[in-house]
């Protein structure tokens, strides 16, 4: 597998948080890198946006060279932005991110 980065919205910097149920308004993104199986948690700059948090979050992830996201539900703006940014979207579920990444690695998540 090529080097891939996948992002998941989370609400805390804890070791293994559960996926947050909103995308653009998540406090953080957990970014997992397949190159070395490492993960980092970064603050989402769009969390306090008055409007347009979804697209702003996508712009941020795009600037971080993210290729895939695992998400809860998405608004139409965030959805359009992710597709325009050529980021692959996978349907997540509210379970700990490590379990979610395992499922993603085994190709068990539905591509949206």
């Amino acid at each position: 597998m090529n080097n891939l980065k996948v992002a998941i919205p989370v609400s805390s910097k804890d070791d293994n948080p559960i996926m947050f149920e909103r995308f653009g308004r998540a406090s953080y993104f957990c970014i997992f890198d397949t190159e070395d199986d490492s993960s980092v948690v970064v603050a989402n700059p769009a969390v306090g946006a008055r409007g347009g948090a979804g697209p702003r979050a996508v712009e941020f992830l795009s600037s971080k060279q993210i290729q895939s996201v695992i998400v809860p539900q998405l608004g139409p703006n965030a959805d359009g932005a992710l597709r325009a940014a050529q980021i692959t979207i996978f349907q997540g579920e509210p379970i700990p991110v490590k379990n979610l990444i395992d499922k993603w690695k085994k190709d068990e998540l539905r591509k949206l």
């Binding site: 769009a46 946006a49 008055r50 409007g51 347009g52 948090a53 697209p55 702003r56 996508v58 712009e59 795009s62 600037s63 703006n77 359009g80 932005a81 325009a84 940014a85 050529q86």
Partner: protein
């Protein structure tokens, strides 16, 4: 004289008062600025026609010049622009038309193109002039429609009555900002009072002269009047809580036609307001 009728809570009687007040006056212009839900025309027996489109300028990117530097998107206050690796996305409905992006683009790659977000209408019956704005369903920005509606204010009419959207946010502020006097309609209920307090705060920041009309007088409690006394806000008029008013309202008949004594009371209120402005 420009008089705007506001309320905190919706459904307190702005439209009823605006229509009845305008009908008692001669050579008047009535403006329905509640562009999300304009309904004065339901109470008026006149035909209206489309006179203008309300538009806001939105950015268009010229990719022959754009270097994808991202200055436009990172400075957009409304997150209407977004940079992805090969293009700048424009989220039209997020755009407030401020024009900043076109001014700061270092390559002059952005031009502004108009986008229609609402329509403006006009109707006339002898000396009664009526205008209203209507926001297109699905659009979010009522403020620019209101601002463009106000450009239709006639210089020939001595009195302009404006029906404002409810609440105390931007659309209401845009409606009252250049008014001479503001009439605050409230109902004497805890909910009515709570929302009214926010409007009072807003009007004081805007340094507007205003008074209160108590509608549905007789329901609720005394708190509203006590608040007005304490805050030294004049109570201009009381409209009784009356089932006949409600019945006729549902048929599109304003309360002026139900309670004929209101004619002289409304006229007196205008005289009182004129004196307060001297």
């Amino acid at each position: 004289m420009q008089i705007t009728i506001v309320s905190g809570k919706g459904g307190t009687g702005k439209t009823s008062l605006a229509v009845s007040l305008a009908m008692t006056l001669e050579n008047v212009q009535l403006l329905d600025a509640d562009v999300d839900e304009p309904n004065c025309s339901l109470f008026l027996d006149l035909d209206t026609k489309l006179v203008a489109e309300a538009k806001i300028p939105i950015p268009e990117i010229n990719y022959d010049l754009c270097t994808l530097c991202g200055a436009c998107s990172s400075n957009c206050e409304y997150n209407a622009l977004m940079k992805v690796p090969d293009q700048i996305l424009v989220f039209e409905k997020m755009c407030h038309g401020c024009g900043l992006c076109s001014k700061i683009c270092p390559e002059n790659a952005i031009t502004e193109v108009p986008r229609t977000i609402g329509y403006l209408y006009e109707g006339e019956n002898k000396e009664f002039l009526f205008n209203f704005g209507s926001l297109i369903v699905g659009e979010e920005l009522s403020t620019p429609v209101i601002s463009q509606l106000k450009q239709l204010i006639s210089k020939d009419k001595p009195i302009i009555v404006i029906d404002s959207p409810p609440g105390s946010s931007c659309p209401m502020v845009e409606t009252v900002i250049d008014s001479d006097y503001v009439i605050l309609v409230s109902e004497p209920t805890p909910f009515g009072l709570s929302d009214m307090k926010m409007v009072v705060k807003t009007l004081r920041i805007l340094e507007k002269k205003f008074g209160v009309v108590i509608n549905k007088d007789g329901v609720g409690n005394e708190e509203l009047e006590l608040f007005c006394q304490k805050e030294e806000i004049p109570v201009l008029l009381k409209i009784p809580f009356d089932l006949e008013i409600a019945k006729n309202y549902s048929k599109g008949v304003p309360f002026l036609n139900v309670l004929p004594e209101m004619d002289s009371k409304l006229k007196k209120m205008i005289v009182d307001i004129g004196e307060a402005l001297e």
